[in-house]
Amino acid sequence: MNPHFKRASSTRRRFRIALPALLLFAVAAIAAPPIPTTNLQAAQQAIANAERVDASTHAGVDLGEARGKLAAAQRAVEDKKMVVAQQFADEARAGAELAAAKAGAVKALAVNEDIKRSTATLVDEMQRKSGVSR
């Protein structure tokens, strides 16, 4: 056989062993989940946003729960449970978004009630006034 060929085939064989090992290594590296930084940041931002729209007043329970989820996510990061950390972070974000939305709804309905009340007062006043004048 061609010695050259033989040499080449032996390197190929060596590759055949190295490549799966390398791939395994890479997969392992990917599979070892990184800290879910993006999700944590998104959750923090959602909580800050909810606080800005007075969710602590109008949707305190939901905001409190979101804060608890964020704390749980941070504990999970410390425990290297990155999948769990990401889930908690996403739950914190969804909860904070809910708190902000609820606060918005409460405020919007309150404004409408205010307008309704002032109109009703005006109509009452007018009816009273015209009743007096008649």
């Binding site: 996403d90 609820k102 307008i115 002032s118 007018m126 006034k129």
Partner: protein, 297 residues
């Protein structure tokens, strides 16, 4: 032969494995716990006609999250996580839809409020206008009364001026007995008591005056000079006064307003020694009374 025996065994193993896998699949719960409830919550939101068409992005997010939550999942923690997220998303969609609906409703509320405010203002203006109308009517009435008062004052004033003018025409002079108009001796021929024709200009003015002021009365007094007997002068003065009265009655003056008397040669106004004096003493005086007692206006 050997091979033909081996093959069925392999295929049998394959079938068994496939069956096991299928069984495994079938054992995975079709709906993760809580996914039915979150689907029901989403359906309720979607069938709420007042909210279903609002917040479409959040609605779609919620729908997608519910679909993910419904996917069969062996990892129970992941399944629970998905259901949790789906619940939050559906609640968020409801809250956002409520906000949007409230904001839409607000426009019509503001419109209703504006209309009410406008109505109120219009009504207030109407009230003010009618108040003003009433006030104006009252004002007009007062002005009318004032005007009438002024008019009557004007009339009185004009009447006074007119009286003054008439008196000037008559050449009457005010005395303590009243207005005295002296008609000279040119009315009569000497010794006669008939009025001379063409001498009645002064009497006509007196007639006009008495007709103008029907509340006034006139006392007609005849006087003579001292020539002749006293009795004759007395009767002559009486006849002359009667003649003047007769003339005035003939002109339409009521006799009840007129009285006549003869004063003879008494009360001379000038010296009877001279011709000029005697001429002045031969006279008829008409005393126009001040306003009659019944004519208090």
């Amino acid at each position: 032969m050997n091979i033909s025996v081996k093959l069925p065994i392999r295929s049998m193993i394959a079938v068994a494995v496939a069956a096991a896998v299928l069984a495994g699949c079938a054992s995975v719960p079709k709906n993760p716990a809580g996914s039915e409830q979150v689907r029901a919550k989403l359906t309720a939101l979607q069938s709420d006609t007042s909210l279903a068409n609002s917040a479409p992005v959040a609605m779609k997010d919620a729908e997608a999250a519910v679909i993910v939550a419904e996917m069969p999942q062996k990892d129970l923690a992941l399944a629970a996580h998905r259901v949790y997220i789906a619940n939050r998303k559906v609640d968020t969609a409801r809250a956002l839809a409520q906000t949007e609906t409230a904001e839409t409703e607000r426009m019509s509320l503001v419109e209703i409020g504006e209309k009410a405010r406008l109505d109120a203002r219009t009504r207030e203006a109407d009230l003010a206008k009618s108040d003003a109308l009433v006030a104006r009517a009252e004002n007009a009435e007062q002005k009318l009364i004032a005007g009438q008062a002024r008019d009557s004052a004007d009339v009185a004033n004009q009447q006074a001026i007119e009286l003054q003018r008439q008196l000037e025409i008559l050449q009457a002079r005010p005395t303590d007995r009243g207005l005295v108009l002296t008609l000279g001796d040119t009315l009569f021929a000497t010794g006669k008591s008939e009025l001379k024709s063409g001498a009645t200009v002064n009497l006509d003015r007196l007639t006009t005056f008495l007709n103008e002021y029907p509340t006034r009365t006139a006392s007609i007094e005849g006087y003579t000079d001292s020539m002749g007997s006293e009795e004759m002068n007395q009767s002559l003065s009486q006849r002359r006064a009667d003649a003047v009265k007769g003339y005035l009655v003939g002109q339409g003056v009521s006799s009840t307003r007129l009285s006549s008397s003869g004063r003879g040669e008494n009360s001379p106004v000038a010296d009877n020694e001279s011709a000029t004096g005697r001429q002045q003493n031969r006279r008829v005086e008409v005393v126009i009374s001040p306003l009659a007692p019944e004519g208090t206006n």
